[in-house]
């Protein structure tokens, strides 16, 4: 449940940044300093022709779908959704770690929304790990 809510939040943040990149929203709401735009306009904000934010939109959509599927009665006691969630979240954390490294050491500017997204993906990973632990405990009891 927490994973689904967090994924939805992450989805909207990524969507906002993607739409901004497409020129569909005005100036980025980023507080004083405007470093969001420095990050979002850097050459690292596009990978294989697609903005990084777009990967976020698809990634969070996938996480949302998997976490909602895992809540359905016939999947609730199965391990697969949790394992898939764990794999996706681990991939997301690795990708985010790379992006955060770029912000800190290469671009040298911080994008507040990207940091919120980083916190969200870490929280999803933690919740997936907690879910797996719970499943193991339930499995050993039965």
């Amino acid at each position: 449940m927490a994973a689904a809510l967090l994924s939805l939040g992450g989805f909207f943040i990524s969507l906002y940044l993607w739409l901004w990149k497409l020129g569909m929203v005005g100036e980025l709401a980023c507080g004083a300093g405007g470093q969001c735009e420095v990050v979002q306009n850097s050459s690292y904000a596009v990978i294989f022709g697609l903005p990084v934010a777009a990967y976020g939109v698809f990634g969070y959509a996938a996480l949302l779908a998997v976490s909602l599927a895992g809540l359905q009665p016939r999947w609730q006691s199965r391990r697969e959704p949790t394992l898939l969630l764990l794999a996706l979240a681990a991939g997301g954390v690795a990708f985010t770690a790379y992006l955060t490294y770029l912000e800190a050491f290469v671009i040298r500017a911080w994008c507040r929304w990207c940091l919120v997204s980083a916190a969200i993906i870490v929280a999803i990973l933690v919740s997936a790990l907690a879910g797996l632990r719970e499943l193991r405990r339930a499995g050993s009891q039965s």
Binding site: G23, E27, V38, N41, Q76, A138
Partner: protein, 228 residues
């Protein structure tokens, strides 16, 4: 996943987050377009900003001054900038025969025009008005069709070598909005109602002009001033 029997409250919370997020995105998309720059300007600020003569090129001692009232989003102005201005610069301005003054005249029907004029004013702050002028006119057909060209103008700023931190700060402050409006008022007082409008001597010539026609007018203005 933990076993949960009643998912209804969870779905309700999820729906609230979804509606809230969608509303936020919608508001952001609707508010796009660099609001502070396009917002109405305070009258007192416009009065204070009066007196700016425009962006000039050429010697102050040139016998003739041409004032061009133009709008960066107007197609005829772009046509003039692309087809005629190059010759004007090389053959008249560089030769010391004309002093050119470009004045802001964003028309109300052009949604991105004020933003473009403001970007040019911010480029002028770093001594690159004419470079931005060219970028804006040559790229007009691209950005005029965009929903919000803020980023594209920023790309132009980067392309002409502006200090982007200063440019961003200038755009965010919207500090030239009043000066742009003051320029529009000056034009209106002179009877300008469309763009481009050229003022040569004390006469007004609206519409696109080819080099030869412009040159003939400049020559006659020069002859008139030397006979005086």
């Amino acid at each position: 996943m933990a076993r949960v029997k009643n998912l209804k409250p969870f779905y309700a919370v999820l729906a609230v987050v979804a509606v809230g997020g969608a509303g936020w995105i919608w508001m952001a998309a609707r508010g796009g377009g660099g609001a502070p720059i396009s917002a109405p300007v305070d009258e007192a600020a416009v009065a204070r900003a009066a007196g700016f003569p425009g962006y000039s090129l050429g010697s102050p001692d040139a016998p003739v001054t041409v004032i061009e009232y133009a709008d960066f989003e107007c197609p005829a102005c772009a046509q003039f900038a692309i087809l005629t201005m190059h010759d004007v610069k090389q053959r008249l301005i560089a030769a010391g025969r004309v002093r050119w003054q470009f004045r802001d005249f964003p028309l109300p029907g052009h949604r991105h025009s004020r933003l473009a004029h403001h970007a040019a004013a911010c480029a002028d702050e770093q001594g690159r008005f004419w470079e931005m002028h060219d970028q804006l006119f040559y790229g007009q057909s691209t950005w005029a069709a965009e929903r919000n060209p803020y980023n594209r103008f920023r790309d132009y700023a980067r392309a002409i070598g502006l200090d982007l931190a200063r440019y961003d700060e200038c755009m965010e402050s919207a500090r030239y909005s009043a000066r742009i409006e003051a320029s529009v008022r000056d034009g209106e007082q002179l009877g300008v109602s469309s763009t481009p409008t050229f003022i040569i001597g004390n006469r007004r010539y609206p519409g696109f002009m080819a080099y030869d026609a412009l040159r003939a007018l400049i020559d006659s203005a020069a002859a008139a001033s030397s006979n005086r």
